[in-house]
Point group: C2
């Protein structure tokens, strides 16, 4: 079962490959309606699909958008992102190519061989990689400080503290995740919380790792117990999941939320809303951000200026827990 090529289509419709190409690519060249019809019919009948490889070789660029995934689990963000990106790229005949960031091979080998239209990084690239891609005129998009996707970690932490302070809390705990892979994010959010405490004249937040496990969470939470040395009246958690672990830990000690300890999360997840009490949280607007990233990719493809950063990607959603 050999591959059907444009030569086959040409033969079947009694024209040259040139004409086939003109017809199929809607070239500016005028082609007679009868020829057009015959070529299209032949292509359809034979099930012809042009070779992406040959096309890429000829044109010097593939129909691929390379997305370099980070080393950490991105859950909801990844989901929304892939959903939007694959779909919007599809609409333009492009394909999303995923690559795992942990690959030991140099990134340069990848984009040099694949020749993608755009390279999207969910994590910043090395300065050297950035330079090399710029030199090769490869469009690059990273979700760093300026992109809006993974942005504003510090502001998130600060927002949590400001809300807790505004509701009268002074001794604040920070519940960090157990997972080393998100340690970078956690550190940035904690830094934001810390800075806010300093700014507001509050004592340093009491930071603690709280695993997503009831027993371990209960052990961790002891430190914050009203009778303990690290007593706090409120906890800012890395995200809603960690906040739910905090809730479980406090429950194990018979502490009530928000009366004994207030809790504020991040992400505005459905399960945070279903908790008892429903979580007060900072929304990072995953949907908005995923859409924005997709829009950035599209703009980059079209050589247009990047779209304006969405307003207010981070905002507080007040519910019962704080």
């Amino acid at each position: 079962m050999p591959r059907v090529t444009s030569a086959d289509v040409a033969r079947a419709s009694g024209v040259s490959r040139t004409t086939v190409s003109y017809v199929l690519n809607g070239a500016a060249k005028p082609i007679s309606a009868t020829t057009r019809e015959r070529v299209l019919a032949a292509a359809r009948d034979l099930g012809y699909a042009p070779s992406a490889a040959a096309r890429a070789l000829r044109s010097g660029r593939s129909d691929l958008v390379l997305c370099v995934l980070p080393d950490w689990p991105i859950g909801a963000v990844l989901d929304a992102l892939i959903e939007h990106l694959t779909e919007e790229l599809c609409a333009r005949g492009l394909l999303l190519l995923l690559h795992h960031g942990r690959d030991p091979r140099p990134l340069a080998d990848l984009w040099r061989s694949v020749q993608p239209r755009v390279v999207v990084g969910l994590t910043p690239f090395s300065a050297e990689d950035e330079r090399a891609m710029a030199r090769a005129e490869v469009q690059v998009l990273t979700t760093g400080e300026h992109s809006g996707l993974v942005a504003l970690q510090e502001r998130t932490g600060a927002l949590q503290v400001h809300h807790l302070a505004a509701t009268g809390h002074r001794r604040i705990g920070y519940a960090a995740p157990d997972d080393d892979r998100v340690a970078g994010f956690a550190a940035q959010r904690l830094a934001g919380a810390r800075a806010a405490c300093a700014e507001l004249g509050l004592p340093e937040p009491v930071a603690l790792e709280v695993p997503l496990d009831a027993a371990a969470a209960a052990r961790a939470v002891r430190t914050w117990h009203p009778d303990a040395a690290g007593a706090v009246s409120a906890v800012a958690a890395y995200n809603d999941d960690v906040a739910l672990a905090v809730l479980a830990g406090l429950r194990a000690h018979g502490l009530r939320v928000p009366d004994d300890v207030a809790v504020v999360g991040v992400d505005d997840t459905a399960l945070g809303r279903l908790a008892d009490p429903p979580l007060t949280t900072v929304s990072q607007s995953v949907e908005v951000q995923a859409h924005h990233l997709a829009a950035q990719v599209i703009a980059a493809l079209d050589g247009q200026a990047p779209p304006p950063r969405p307003e207010q990607v981070v905002h507080l959603v007040r519910r019962a827990s704080a």
Copy 2:
């Protein structure tokens, strides 16, 4: 900044392109150590990476694995899958190419132009597509009944009912998800639950949609209230998330779990474990299944027999809620 080609490497090291290719691809041909060295050094210095397009054109097959995503959100499964698949494929120099199932263009155009090593479908392909791919000798993997990834929905529902029946429940509710996109799965799980009830001589399960929203869940749950017509003593939920919504709904009515109503979920999520009470659940072993799918892809690549289906991908995890 024109592309660096094997010709450049050949020129820089004073040999022919043939020799460059032999060295870089570790051909069976013996090449003198000095030549080898010179070629490798030149390749490194020039930042040479072979063109994937040219290679694919030459060999007739790309280094891509095409993954067709379904129309529904797959959350944890997608996460685990992409994580494992990108990583394991990376290790073999392959790349994961994502495609959105909702694309209106025929799937055939895609695999014909891309010429992937394997096509993985997270949802079954049409019979016509299957046939065409088979004819073109394209390796296909679907996660249907036989694959283990999305398998055994009915068994999952049945397992929930068997557990509830074993703990003395006779009137059982089924909490279906709100999301149309997973309606297929939900129907299969419910069918399994229904069959189990019939087999055990229990009345039909009382099926209800329970949204992931506290107020809506509370409304839905009224039907199951001990004083209502649809009264049940236990609920099997589509998954842990829905089970948490059921918990929230029951809580709103002052009903206690498991004393007034027992609840069993599916997925064994971290947040289900953190709930109050911790959820009894059916584990579908996402990790195991993702790994199995990756193993299937690898086996298909190597032309080996598919790996044995993992034992017991579905099992009950007993905790406090049922």
